[in-house]
């Protein structure tokens, strides 16, 4: 429980720290993918990438549990 609390605390610290970073002066010129983001499609990529990440982690958690079972001698 203590560890979960400290984990939560860490995340909060991170979020607060991120929120305090102000925008630095933006220089003009080089073209960025603003159009892509304003039309909303970058969120599609984010969804795809996060899905892959979650899938990989589920796989790893299951593998971890299987190895734990083997270690306890439950073949």
């Amino acid at each position: 429980m203590k560890k979960i609390t400290s984990l939560f605390f860490l995340i909060c610290v991170f979020l607060v720290a991120t929120a305090q970073v102000g925008d630095t002066g933006t220089e003009q010129a080089p073209e960025m993918a603003d159009a892509l983001r304003s039309s909303g499609k970058i969120y599609v990529v984010v969804a795809v990438v996060v899905t892959i990440l979650l899938g990989l982690f589920i796989y790893l958690f299951r593998l971890d549990r299987k190895i734990s079972k083997l270690e306890k001698g439950k073949y």
Binding site: M32, A33, V45, V50, L53
Partner: protein, 222 residues
């Protein structure tokens, strides 16, 4: 379950932050780099993870030489293996990026060559291990070699890239990125989320491999 694996969940949380903020967060607009500046969270993190794992592997090799405990040798081996995987991912992602910014995937850039040499030296670590059949001899030779392999990382990844001209961001200075290119918004994702997130993931994979390997050994000796 949660009690033992809080750092595994931390890794997941940090990587989710990295992936979402990495794509949606603000980045400075730079010529040539454009949106690829976001590679900092992914490509550069691969190299940082590799370096950390190789340091851990080095520590276990030294521990082996002091203790002659086979467990330390196994730790050194598995950390080096995962380190190689992350190094290869760093090299491949770098080549993909170079293809669209430099025009060719391989430009014989000092940073590319240094990274390739460093990885080849670690491949040789695996070859050397597999060429020896006696367990104690293998562990001892591999541990000594691992120390030299790590020593070679210093010129190939830290010194030469600083001395020679390079196309890579950071140019003649920093081997990883130009500290003037990235701003505080990017630093707030890179240092607290991307680097520890990827590193914890790599450590997790390594511990799984170590556990699997010791189960295998138990079965062989039974």
């Amino acid at each position: 379950m949660l009690r033992q694996s809080w750092w595994k969940i931390l890794s997941l949380v940090l990587l989710i932050i990295t992936f979402i903020a990495g794509f949606l967060g603000g980045v400075p607009a730079k010529p040539i780099l454009n949106e690829t500046i976001r590679n900092l969270y992914f490509h550069v993190s691969m190299w940082f993870t590799m370096m950390i794992l190789f340091i851990v592997s080095l520590v276990y090799s030294i521990k082996y030489l002091r203790s002659n405990n086979q467990v330390h040798d196994r730790y050194a081996l598995e950390f080096a293996k995962t380190g190689i995987v992350f190094g290869l991912l760093g090299l491949i992602t770098g080549m993909i990026w170079a293809n669209y910014t430099w025009g060719k995937p391989w430009n014989n850039d000092p940073k590319q060559l240094g990274a390739a040499i460093a990885l080849l030296i670690y491949f040789a670590y695996m070859v050397l291990r597999n060429s020896l059949t006696d367990e104690d001899k293998r562990a001892k030779t591999a541990a000594v070699y691992n120390i030299f392999a790590f020593a070679m990382l210093i010129p190939t990844l830290w010194v030469i890239p600083r001395l020679m001209d390079s196309l890579h961001p950071g140019g003649m200075g920093n081997p990883a990125f130009d500290t003037k290119d990235i701003d505080s918004r990017m630093r707030m994702i890179f240092w607290p989320a991307a680097v520890p997130g990827w590193t914890l993931l790599a450590v997790w994979i390594t511990t799984l491999r170590i556990r699997l390997r010791s189960l295998h050994d138990i079965k062989l000796n039974a």
